[in-house]
Amino acid sequence: MIPHLTLLAAEETTSLIDWWNSLWFRPQSSTVAGQVDWVFNFVMAVCIFFFVLIVGMLLVFLAKYVSRPGHKPESSPSHNDKLEITWSVIPLIITFFIFYYGFVGYLDMRTPPDDALEVKVVGKKWAWSFQYPNGAIDSELHAPLGQPVRLVMSSDDVIHSLFIPAFRVKQDVVPGRYSKTWFTATKTAPEDNGDSFPDPDEGGFDLFCTEYCGTSHSQMKAKVIIEKSDGDFLNYLNKINDPRNGGAPVEVGEKLYNRRGCVQCHSIDGSAKAGPTWKGSYGTEAELVTGEKVKVDENYIRESILNPMAKVHKGFNPVMPTYQGQLKDDEIFAIIQYIRSLSGTAVEDWPARPEAPVVDPNAPPKN
């Protein structure tokens, strides 16, 4: 296809094009970026031609025919259908080409390859979260170099838009539906070289929200880290998949409380929500709907997370979903430690680990 060929030739032969591109763009870092820049430059050439033509004629006419003593307007035809049709048809043909190249590039942008790695993206005021096939969630987007990545995006509140300038990729994230986009990174982001002048994309490609979404719209951004090899990516996934990398159990528990929906029903300030408050609950006696009493301890909490219907607290409806298969043992442990901390009970550090989990990045998502 013409754009690709020209692009290749340009890369080989001249640095003028590089200079020109650096004037306008961040370095092309995805497979579609070259196409976008090619169409941009093609349109730019058309624009410069017409702009110079129009403004040039304007200036020439101005110089030649500006009114001055002794100068008179000369007669000339006030219409010329052939000329008019010419300057209607030629731009029409040119715009057809622009449309065609834009259209072809767009089809590529909207059609992810079948073997793409799927990452779920959730936008919420005002942060992004990325969920990998193994269920791990991070606030940065990591992807392996040269591997197609498909983003399946949804929003919890208003419309957001995911934009990675270096990849020339953008898609609105509309609440109430999935939006999809994809990219294949061809470069890793430049390292932070420590100089005072901020380069774009240093230490990870910029990812912006480009659909206005309220107060901190301008801070709803993330970094895209491209891992050099599949191995690096695997290591990353393993790292974030292990809750222990999040810090002390209490901190991890607090994050989980906010991220995994506990906050919807359980308060941490003693107030009543759909479920019992966590504040000061640890170690107390709870009365169940059956009338029997049970001590709120590690075992009771664990059972309530995995099988909420077994022992329902009196005064509350049995509405809690089970988290069986959705929370790892370490995560449940972390939540328990967090609940303990809310009751002033001493918290424990991570227990000794039996074996490290191994995760295949291409494994199907668990949920």
Binding site: P69, T95, G105, V174, E211, H217
Partner: protein, 580 residues
């Protein structure tokens, strides 16, 4: 200053006596007499137009102040100016910033640009160009202005309540969930919509039924063609905005569930509804601007407009094609790829009529005698700026490039080049062109031209850097930004203040002329359209007798009379009879 020649009146060389001059009798100015109520409830299209003019200029000032505040805040990457200015913490200051750009956009679009040329200049000039005494429905015309005032009051109310932070587009579901007086602002826009519809309706009926004998469709001045095309859009597109905003208001207040996904609604449908109006609205803004330029360029080139019929048809073509391209605002918004492709293809077809106009304007100057009066300076800068604005539209029409550029500063720069470099500059051209007719005073040419040059430089200074910011990925509506973008933002902010000073200067020159200006002759520029065939300022009835209708761009009968410091029409018997 450019030395300029006027075609001096030399009756003897024409072999004529002075009796052949068309004398325009002086009459009682429409401006004089009557108290406040005679203005508020006037049925005179010119008084209504002048009231519109005063209102829109006031709102331009308000919107401009918000623009400068926004630009000043963006001088540095952090949200510091607004926090310091209003003593707010960072979160509150960002909210404030969001309110500022919302008010800038909403006020400029709904209260300034849309009514600027049609409702203010159009109201004054359109009946006079038709040789008519008034528009077809003077009472409806007055109602249109009163509705405008009511709509504006709602907007101002929303402004005083603070917290309107949706952007001028009111996208659901943000607008249905945010705090702040959204319902008040949308109702204001709803009312303004009907004001716009009434104006458009009046213009179509006036042009259709009240053309004088001799003025066939293709002997109409191009300003009328442009305003007519605009009026078609106003009638057919604005009601869709009205129903959209009504639905949005009900969605917000009663929870209808048409647009809000939490209730089963569809936010993309809102965008379809909104842009079905708001894209044609772009042409409501630019078409009358093009129309003014089509009248100004031939007058100051002393040449008939080149390709009259092409320009006339291109206005109608733009108006009709403009209805088919709204989806190009939604290439990345979750619209289906099929719809995007269709809309992209049609979008390019709209660029052709615009290109035709630009080529024709340029060709009109060929072999002319170009008088660089202020309106012509604005017209030339219009061609320059609108060409940039129009050409950058090609980038945004190309599907894959638009995906990269959508919602970045490239778009901001593009539409400011079209809206401000196009419509505002054309509005200023028209204002300077008709100012002597409307108020009967001449302004200071030198200072008006200086203001024009400052505006031209300031404009490019402000918005050229934004193209580069956009291609580098600077998203719009950002209160804070990455330090890498600061260089561009700095330039842009400096330019904005330079531009602002130019606009203040232009305003000052015009206001000064009202107090100290020389009395204007009936026809200071030698234009051949009918509005110049009554005295300056006109009488309430406009014309003592219905003027003779000739081709609106035939300047051969207009010669400069140094005594009048303006042009007079000379009617040689032979020439006149030969024309029939």
């Amino acid at each position: 200053m450019v030395t300029q020649a006027k075609e001096h009146l030399d009756f003897h060389s024409l072999g004529l006596t002075e009796d052949r001059r068309v004398i325009i009798p002086e009459g009682k100015s429409y401006l004089s007499g009557g108290g406040l109520w005679s203005w508020v409830f006037t049925l005179d299209h010119k008084r209504i137009g002048v009231m519109y003019l005063a209102s829109i200029l006031t709102f331009f000032l308000v919107g401009g102040i918000f623009a400068l505040l926004v630009r000043a805040e963006l001088y540095t990457p952090d949200i510091d100016l607004i926090s310091k200015l209003f003593g707010l913490d960072a979160e509150k200051a960002k909210d404030k910033y969001n309110e500022f750009f919302t008010l800038h956009g909403a006020i400029m679009v709904f209260l300034f640009i849309i009514p600027s040329i049609p409702a203010a200049l159009g109201n004054i000039i359109l009946p006079m160009q038709l040789g008519a005494k008034d528009v077809a429905f003077p009472r409806m015309n007055l109602a249109s202005y009163h509705l405008y005032v009511w709509g504006a009051l709602f907007f101002i109310g929303a402004l005083l309540m603070t917290g309107l932070d949706t952007g001028w587009t009111f996208y659901a579901p943000y607008s249905t969930t945010t705090v702040g007086p959204v319902a008040m602002a949308t109702l204001g826009a709803f009312i303004l919509g009907f004001s716009s519809i009434f104006t458009g309706l009046n213009f179509v009926v006036t042009v259709n039924t009240m053309r004088p004998k001799g003025m066939t469709w293709f002997r109409m001045p191009l300003f009328l063609w442009g305003v007519y095309a605009t009026a078609i859009i106003q009638i057919l597109a604005t009601p869709v905005l009205a129903i959209t905003l009504l639905l949005l208001t009900f969605e917000r207040v009663f929870g209808l569930g048409i647009f809000d996904p939490k209730l089963g609604g569809d936010p993309v449908l809102y965008q379809h509804f909104f842009w079905f109006y708001s894209h044609p609205a772009v042409y409501i803004m630019i078409l009358p601007g093009m129309a003014i330029i089509s009248d100004v360029i031939p007058t100051f080139s002393r040449k008939p407009i080149f390709g009259y019929t092409f320009i006339a048809y291109s206005s109608i073509a733009i108006a009709l094609l403009g209805f088919l391209v709204w989806g190009h605002h939604m290439f990345t918004s979750g619209q289906s790829p099929l719809a995007s492709v269709v809309f992209s293809a049609i979008t390019f077809s709209v660029s052709i009529p615009s290109a035709i106009k630009v080529f024709n304007w340029t060709a009109t100057m060929y072999k002319g005698s170009i008088h660089l009066n202020t309106p012509m300076c604005y017209a030339l800068s219009f061609i320059f700026l609108f060409t940039i604005g129009g050409l950058t539209g090609l980038f945004l029409g190309a599907l894959n490039v638009d995906v990269h550029l959508h919602d970045t500063y490239f778009v901001v720069a593009h539409f400011h080049y079209v809206m401000m470099g196009g419509t505002l500059i054309a509005f200023l051209a028209g204002l300077h062109y008709w100012w002597p007719k409307i108020f009967g005073k001449m302004y200071n040419e030198t200072w008006a031209r200086v203001a024009c040059v400052i505006i031209f430089i300031g404009f490019n200074w402000t918005f050229l850097p934004q193209f580069v910011l956009g291609t580098h990925g600077m998203p719009r509506r950002y209160a804070t930004y990455e330090p890498q973008f600061q260089a561009g933002h700095r330039l842009s902010t400096q330019g904005a203040f330079f531009l602002g000073s130019g606009l203040f200067l232009a305003g000052g020159v015009l206001l000064h002329s009202l107090l100290k200006g020389k009395k204007a002759p009936p026809n200071p520029w030698g234009a051949a359209t009918l509005e110049w065939k009554c005295c300056s300022p006109p009488t309430t009835q406009n014309f003592e007798t219905t003027p003779w209708v000739g081709f609106p761009y035939d300047y051969s009968d207009f010669v400069y009379d140094p005594n009048e410091e303006g042009y007079v029409e000379v009617l040689p018997d032979l020439a006149r009879s030969a024309k029939h």
